[in-house]
Symmetry: C2
Subunit: 147 residues, 2 copies
DNA sequence: CCTATTTCAGGGGTACTGACATCG
DNA sequence: CCGATGTCAGTAACCCTGAAATAG
């Protein structure tokens, strides 16, 4: 059959499409590089470490995660002994999520994996260009938060 | 509880995370703006128009779509009378996908919706900055194709 | 009353895998 | 035999909705 697989002009430089295609590619690589962790797991461990003991709702807001997904990811991590879920003393609705020693070790390992992933995914970009990309995306995201 | 919802430092400027979060945001807006069409539908209509009658496999490659998803999207569009699926005369395995007049009208409508979506999503960016973003993403994607 | 937290059940769009029959 | 095409069934990760029970 034909050997021409040129992308449609309309799509080739369509920013929204480029964004979603690139994101799909990146998610794929990240999923592989994270082993048996998901991005939500990493986000939650990182937030728990940086914020210290917090409620699930606070962690979810910090990570931009839905409450439902916080529950599921917390279940996973607690089952693996990477964090503890205790009833909050002052508020009987909420839990206090605390990182365990194993959780800290796992987080350090994930930090290293994530660092390597950035280098692998954004290999074609210079340091400056990665910063550019970061800034551009941050502004688009901030626009969402303000709408 | 606390009013601090500051994103974890590790995540705040992590390029892969920014990329996926921005993509999620964009996909939501696009899904709304496209009405009862999906991005695959638009991609297929655009490819069919620009390439003329083609096989499903060729359209799928042009759009970076999986063959399975081409089948599903083609079913939808054919059921709505926006394209025809005829057996290929020279190759009894494959079909020839042809845009109908209704399909062309739908495509023109979608073109306009998509154009407006770019302006809405990337409102905080100047023309130059959108081009920058496009170029950066294109290079990351090209890196995938070459790996 | 109204809001907030946790939890569950489930759906939706996207990307993909594996299998199959068909055909070149 | 190998590879390509179309089709189908099903999975995976992520994002989201709705509802419920509980509690501030």
């Amino acid at each position: 059959m034909p050997m021409d697989e040129a992308p449609p002009l309309r799509l080739r430089r369509l920013p929204t499409r480029l964004l979603t295609q690139t994101a799909a590619h990146v998610q794929r690589l990240v999923a592989q590089g994270l082993g048996d962790f998901r991005t939500h797991h990493y986000a939650l461990l990182a937030a728990a470490e940086e914020r210290g003991p917090s409620s699930q709702a606070a962690l979810g807001r910090a990570c931009g995660m839905d409450r439902s997904d916080v529950v599921a990811a917390t279940n996973d991590l607690a089952a693996r002994g990477l964090l503890r879920r205790d009833p909050a003393p002052g508020d009987r609705r909420s839990n206090v999520i605390t990182l365990t020693a194993d959780g800290e070790n796992a987080l350090r390992d994930l930090d290293e994996r994530v660092r390597r992933l950035q280098d692998s995914v954004f290999a074609p970009l210079s340091e400056d260009e990665r910063d550019q990309l970061t800034r551009l995306l941050t502004r688009v995201l901030r626009h969402r938060a303000e709408s």
